[in-house]
Assembly symmetry: D4
């Protein structure tokens, strides 16, 4: 199976925060693979999976993790392909620990880091499409236009109905 | 002039933190362009420069800024090409304000964020090469091997001479 | 339609935190306009709306946003009228990211920043009235006296009934 | 003496961080008054000074302070004119304590807060001019254009000479 | 009415966090007075109340507030009696803003600061008794012994029943 | 009764966060003792309990506490055996205060600090087994393999069913 | 020797931050004693010193420490007299760790906490005088008046000479 | 060569912060080995070195790193021996990023974390001796007594000479 993007999560409990990101991939029919593997508990399986991903054409990697989030950095150390990191919100620090563990990579092994949590997971998928270029970049551009249209529809609603239209 | 990468800084005082990054670009002979432009003070010049960059073949954008660092996000809103953001260390908060202003982009307009300051600027250049692929990815890989060799040389020195060899 | 104040929010989900602020505007009959527009997704519509606002007499702008909150700064870059910024509480960092993205504006383009969330939205409205001067400043002063009266009523209750009167 | 702006600092050691702000006021010939008074040590003198300021035509107040910075809030409680607050960088927390003590004002008594330190002091002066309107707003606009020109000059230098022109 | 301790809260919504503190005062029959007054909205009433408190024998003041919590510092500026400050948990920063606004008082006007929220309110009451000395210090000591007995009872339970005894 | 590990908690309300840690100890049949004692309220009982623990063969101590968490440091000052500290999530700062109070021990009295909350309590138990060596280290190793197997099972599920299998 | 105040520091390197505090004690001739003792390294000497202090009439204790600053809390656990805590600025966290370790004391053992560093040490001395009452409270009041006079002198200088008088 | 402790640093620039720690090891003649290796750049060399360490009798591992400090966690994932982590102070966040990246390890792979920087490196060495037990624990105990003696000598000096003896 050919893939362009491979996504690594350290735990199945992280999938929830990626839900909107996966939905976008499904909508775009962007061929990807999801792995649930741990940098520290299953390092061999991780290395093998990444090797297979690259054989299958993978151009971009993404990894999401919470707390002392090492997975994106470890993935980045095992490939020269671009790696996108998503800090996940979990535990008492709610993802600021994961942010520091991913974005503050020392010089040499970059990880392109996104926002904490669901917003970051969605943006990670869009960023992957932007890196992949060609039709995927076009889909990202179309998606951006759709979101702009949604904003403009809200703007029209605001002009017609005022703020009360948006109160729950 | 053909370029592959375009780098935007909001102020000439930011160049110092990018020095090692520029040196890497020079070494690799990666065709790039540096702009000193501001998202808020010179929005038209920024838009024109980006249009010209794209005409000249630019595939990846990078932007660095300090404090309430809006430049990377504004650049990202004006192109569908991937944008790399580097939070710079300046002012009393020393770059944590810039980190939050860049990495916490809301869903829709991603910025691949690097570490604060010089480490992030270097990694931004490497990340750009990884995105560009082909020979640039190979140069990034060679660079990684060189750095690994440097580490291994230090390791040999540590085994032969012990810790005192590294004290200033 | 003549307006004195124009309020920009990046998303309709931000309206809830402005509810008390809008209620104050309604009570004061201060002519204002609410826009739901995004600095990054709908830059042209934002520019047009601001131009129309100024034509319609707008003296003060306000903008609220969460996460990497660029909207107040972008609004401030497009007008020489005073701009009030309200960081909104959203996402895993609960608005401290938005605070840094708004208040730490570099020299040249100021944003008068309020507290995070609903308290800031109310204060933004009061601050706008203070800037507008004349009858609006008087309404703000009357509002302040009313709130002082409410505090003094609570003080009397405390002296008469003690702390148990205030337990739910 | 007629004044339009009155600036309160809690200590003469705070003047240094306002130096560029004062230079701007001098350049614009904006009539202002500087007070060194403390919210806690000299409350009566503060109240009297503010009364005199208002008699002399003062339209906007500004206050800067470090650590548990109460001065801007106390000034705001004594006038219905708009008050601009500047958190100053001092002590081991370097101004983040002052930022929280100024920007997080509870509902009712707003303070339009600027960035920490010298950047905030400059922006406070510009913001005051924007509030004052008329010729002062024009001076702020001219200042913005000058700064934009400076940026564009740096941009030309970058295009002609590259990054090395900016290294010290 | 003679009082030894006077407690100032800025809002009746703050009473809840002081509930356990008030219960301790009731139990000890320590004569105190609760005021709901605001440093900024009702400065005259605050000054008058404090004058009356001192006439009525008040030896120690306490003040609790949330967000940019100026009340304890303002109370401290109006008396030479010791003032205890309690940062309250409210708003998106959950009391860390209030902590910085109270504990970081600049040299000259100290506020003896307690922990954020209910724990701090209880400790404030105990600290007041320690300052008052004599029988109140003895009550604080007896309270400490009671709490130690409670801990020792839990220790015996742990030795006899193990950890499961404490799971809900 | 022989024990190898002794665990000190400052309050019975802390037991909940240690539940998974205790379950692991039960599963491994690692002989341990739980104490509910306070560094500040019951110092003598704490000293006696530790003396008895050491007589009973205790090799490793662990202590968990929230807020200004002094218990691990005090335990560490009373024994030369290794002490593991677990910052607990409680109060408005949710455990970051406890983290600073435990991990930042000044030179001389180390505390091996774990993550905040339940994750840290589990890791503390595993770390104790690693220190104890011999069969306990083997049990820790077996536990690690089990967790790796669980991850690999999730990975197989991901490959077979995709992300939707993990949504609740 | 009779004393009223006893000050505990964990290290002689902490004395520098208390210099202005000691100077104030000398000026006021307030009888005090300085101890260099550690909560963890010299617990017996600490207990003995405190017993002697109380025999010698000590009414108020103060303790300053950096990093995971347990000394104030340990002192507070050994006396029913009021204890003032001063977080000191040392190490990479510059005293915010010490602040959390002192101010966040759990319910039962309060420590009246001052600002981080030299400002807090000065305020601690003033707060001790306020607690001691009588002539010491008068000296604190006179000191406050002196500082107010100094501020007023600066205010006169500001009115006569403007801001340039205060630039170095 | 037999060793009991193996220390991994990611860069020779980290050695400076370990200087006092190494001096203690030298003084105790505790057989150890220093490696300069990177988790991400030299993963194979790291794995080989650790295997050799274990063959040579290594009982305890230590690792220090700055920024997004993954080295301690990666070392911990490759051995069942106890691993001590030392966050190093480097870059604009001065080691708080490294602290979060080390201490917040998710459940399963513990790292016993020390304070940031030089204090943590010293404590790491002491903690290793405590884990090793036997004569090394005795040396740690003797070291603790020596430091206690040093404190007591300072205490005598304080009683004899007062605070001025300690001012530089």
């Amino acid at each position: 199976m050919e893939i362009l993007l491979s996504i690594y999560l350290g735990s199945d409990s992280d999938v929830e925060q990626f839900k909107k990101g996966f939905a976008l991939l499904d909508k775009w029919q962007l061929p990807y693979r999801l792995h649930i593997l741990s940098a520290h508990r299953t390092p061999e399986a991780l290395a093998e999976a990444m090797t297979q991903d690259e054989k299958d054409g993978c151009h971009v990697f993404m990894a999401g993790a919470g707390m002392a989030a090492h997975l994106p950095g470890v993935v980045a150390s095992k490939t020269i392909k671009p790696v996108i990191g998503v800090p996940l919100a979990s535990g008492p620090m709610n993802g600021t620990d994961a942010l520091h563990s991913i974005v503050q990579m020392p010089p040499g092994i970059p990880v392109g880091t996104m926002a904490i949590g669901s917003a970051g997971a969605q943006n990670g998928v869009i960023f992957a499409a932007q890196i992949l270029g060609g039709p995927w970049q076009e889909k990202a551009e179309a998606h951006r236009r759709e979101r702009a249209e949604q904003v403009l529809a809200k703007e029209r609603q605001a002009q017609e109905q005022g703020y009360k239209a948006f109160l729950s």
